[in-house]
Symmetry: C2
DNA sequence: GTCGATGCCTCGTTAATCGATGCCTCAGTG
DNA sequence: CACTGAGGCATCGATTAACGAGGCATCGAC
């Protein structure tokens, strides 16, 4: 039998991290840019506040799913540049699979007539 | 502009309530049956523990999205039968729409190449 | 008689989000 | 010059749902 998944311990707590990791597969970026990118590509459906973003980045750092280095932004400002690690890519794949599985199950229930 | 939605304040906190409401559109049911139904129709992908279920049902009661009455289960056991209210149906529609919108946005980001 | 299923519920912990706040720099504007 | 808004970083505290672990009762089967 597949893993049973408690509703939220998998659905939300990790969604933001997953989106950050996905963004970083496009190349290194700093926090502010990650947040604005996610908002832009979602047509402003998603909101990514700094108080959610930076704690999430720190969790990613702790797990070695991203690495950080101080550098400069496109506008020559001081910025912390994040880069996804190979472990981060594995994690992203796992989370994306889990997300699809759970939201698929929920969507199927919602669409049932 | 559409409502901007913070990632999790909408995605998870309410998902279980939404699934309960959806289950009750099939007809009145008691808590234990709701939980088992959700697990069964999701092929055990979802897990619905009692310690998540009953608090969720109480929140639904407080908002008058469901009504409850003591009765009997199919096995003639004492059981609390829940019934969805018109307000509950409205709420379900709203939550389902929000769920689709957010998961759609996330899925689009994940599928981007 | 004991075990598993059916049924209800609560307590305490955990963990992520999020609003508010703070600090710094720079460009533009009045 | 002073001010404001955008670009950048970060933390603190409150909130809030979920969840594991319990507790209690009945019933049928072994």
């Amino acid at each position: 039998m597949r893993n049973r998944t408690s509703l939220s311990s998998e659905l939300l707590p990790g969604t933001l991290e997953m989106l950050i990791l996905k963004t970083l597969t496009r190349g290194p970026a700093h926090g502010y840019a990650i947040a604005r990118h996610l908002e832009r590509v979602s047509s402003n459906v998603l909101r990514v506040g700094e108080s959610s973003l930076y704690p999430a980045l720190q969790r990613l750092l702790l797990n070695d799913w991203v690495q950080a280095a101080w550098g400069e932004s496109e506008l020559k400002r001081r910025a912390r540049i994040y880069r996804i690690t190979p472990a981060g890519r594995k994690r992203l794949a796992q989370e994306a699979e889990g997300f699809d599985r759970i939201t698929g199950a929920i969507a199927a229930i919602l669409e049932a007539i």
